[in-house]
């Protein structure tokens, strides 16, 4: 395991331990102010986890709304419902054996459901084969990062590479060589050729090709792989486009989630966005109404 990967795991486990420790303190602390500050730890740790998952906009929303808004409200609630001179801001809890057992069983059930209920496939899958005529049949698989995770929109911080593997199954495969390229989806819906092999590098090992490209070095947009073979005598097969479903996108290069989220808010989520804004207004008015001093005639 390379150092950067080790470091990533270390950061994740430190942050996860902080989140768990904070959660335990929220659940068990005798002092309610300590509980509130433990909740602060949990919220910041969860924000750090979002950052590890490359969900940048959610990190900002989490810190602004949860830490800056909700936690302040909770601390207000604590301070307004205790006499400020109380030395002992007690935080009664009644953890009987029943509640402990119930929670332990719940946790075990959830974990069992994750581990045995569904297999989270992380192996790269052969998505499509391509016929290269005389050179034979090629099998393409695409994956990301160290080769274990399938292609996902985020990956981890380290998964900056998108890889394509080509295995040729023919005698002719030993004499032919493969060329890799990328096509980019234009706004008009057409596919635009990128200069061949410029953003793509590849290596050959026993007739098995591995091509990769760095996401960060590509412009924002949607991309698709393509492959062709060149024989010894220079004849080229037509480009074979690599896509699981004809006409779909293989992978996208996006710098963060913010642009996509903004578009989704103004597009498919417009109604929900407006409803939430009305709900926030209603909650504001309702909270002010509930909390005001009652005027008795």
């Amino acid at each position: 395991m390379p150092v950067s990967e080790l470091l990533l795991n270390l950061v994740f486990y430190i942050v996860a331990a902080a989140a768990l420790g904070g959660g335990i303190a929220v659940a068990t602390s005798k002092n309610i102010v300590r509980s509130a500050f433990a909740l602060l730890t949990v919220l910041f740790s969860v924000a750090a986890l979002y950052a590890l998952m490359r969900a940048d906009f959610i990190v900002a929303a989490q810190i602004l709304i949860y830490v800056g808004g909700i936690l302040v409200l909770i601390i207000f609630a604590i301070m307004l419902t205790h006499k400020i001179t109380d030395v002992k801001l007690s935080n009664e809890s009644s953890p009987g054996p029943v509640s402990v057992t119930a929670c332990a069983v719940l946790f075990a059930l959830i974990i069992a459901a994750f581990v045995y209920g569904y297999s989270w496939n992380t192996e790269p899958r052969v998505v499509r084969g391509s016929d290269f005529g005389k050179a034979g049949y090629g099998e393409l698989s695409m994956y990301q990062g160290g080769g274990k995770t399938r292609l996902t929109p985020a990956g981890t911080i380290l998964d900056g590479f998108v890889r394509l593997k080509l295995k040729l199954r023919s005698q002719a495969a030993t004499t032919a060589r493969a060329q890799f390229g990328l096509v980019k989806l234009k706004k008009t819906g057409e596919w635009e050729d990128l200069p061949a092999e410029k953003p793509v590098r590849f290596s050959v090992e026993n007739g098995s090709y591995a091509a990769w490209t760095e996401r960060e070095r590509l412009e924002e947009g949607k991309y698709r792989w393509r492959v062709r073979l060149v024989d010894e005598d220079g004849t080229e097969t037509p480009w074979a486009e690599f896509s699981a479903v004809k006409g779909t996108v293989d992978f996208a290069s996006e710098k963060g989630l913010t642009r996509a989220i903004g578009r989704a808010f103004m597009g498919p989520y417009l109604l929900a966005f407006e409803v939430v804004s009305v709900l926030l207004l209603a909650a504001l008015v309702g909270a002010a109404f509930l909390a005001r001093k009652e005027v008795r005639e």
Partner: protein, 109 residues
């Protein structure tokens, strides 16, 4: 042999962590008497759910952005919920002088 490394199995790690946070939140909700503490437990549960949403959105191929959108809506609803809960808790404190959820039995009568 199970590989626990985050870099190899990011989704599973996130799911297990969020399950732990969820259970801790449930534990807080069912054992605490103070209404503010119960509110904190609810926040823990919502954060666990949000972790799941973002995890699935980012690590399931083809999931798109919808999980992240849901997590933003959950955060917004949590803000509204916390504001209303604060108002209710302060009302409780004005009426009963304390904010224990098992003492608030006004609706029984």
């Amino acid at each position: 042999m199970i590989d626990f490394a985050f870099s190899r199995h990011p989704l599973e790690n996130i799911l297990v962590l969020s399950a732990a946070l969820f259970v801790l939140g449930i534990f807080t909700i069912i054992t605490r008497r103070n209404a503010v503490s119960v509110l904190m437990g609810v926040e823990l549960v919502l954060n666990a759910a949000n972790l799941n949403f973002v995890g699935f959105s980012q690590y399931v191929p083809g999931a798109g952005i919808h999980g992240s959108m849901f997590s933003i809506f959950v955060i917004l609803l949590a803000a509204a919920e916390a504001a209303v809960a604060l108002a209710i808790i302060i009302g409780m404190y004005q009426n009963f002088g304390r904010v224990d959820v098992d003492k608030a039995e006004l609706m029984k009568e």
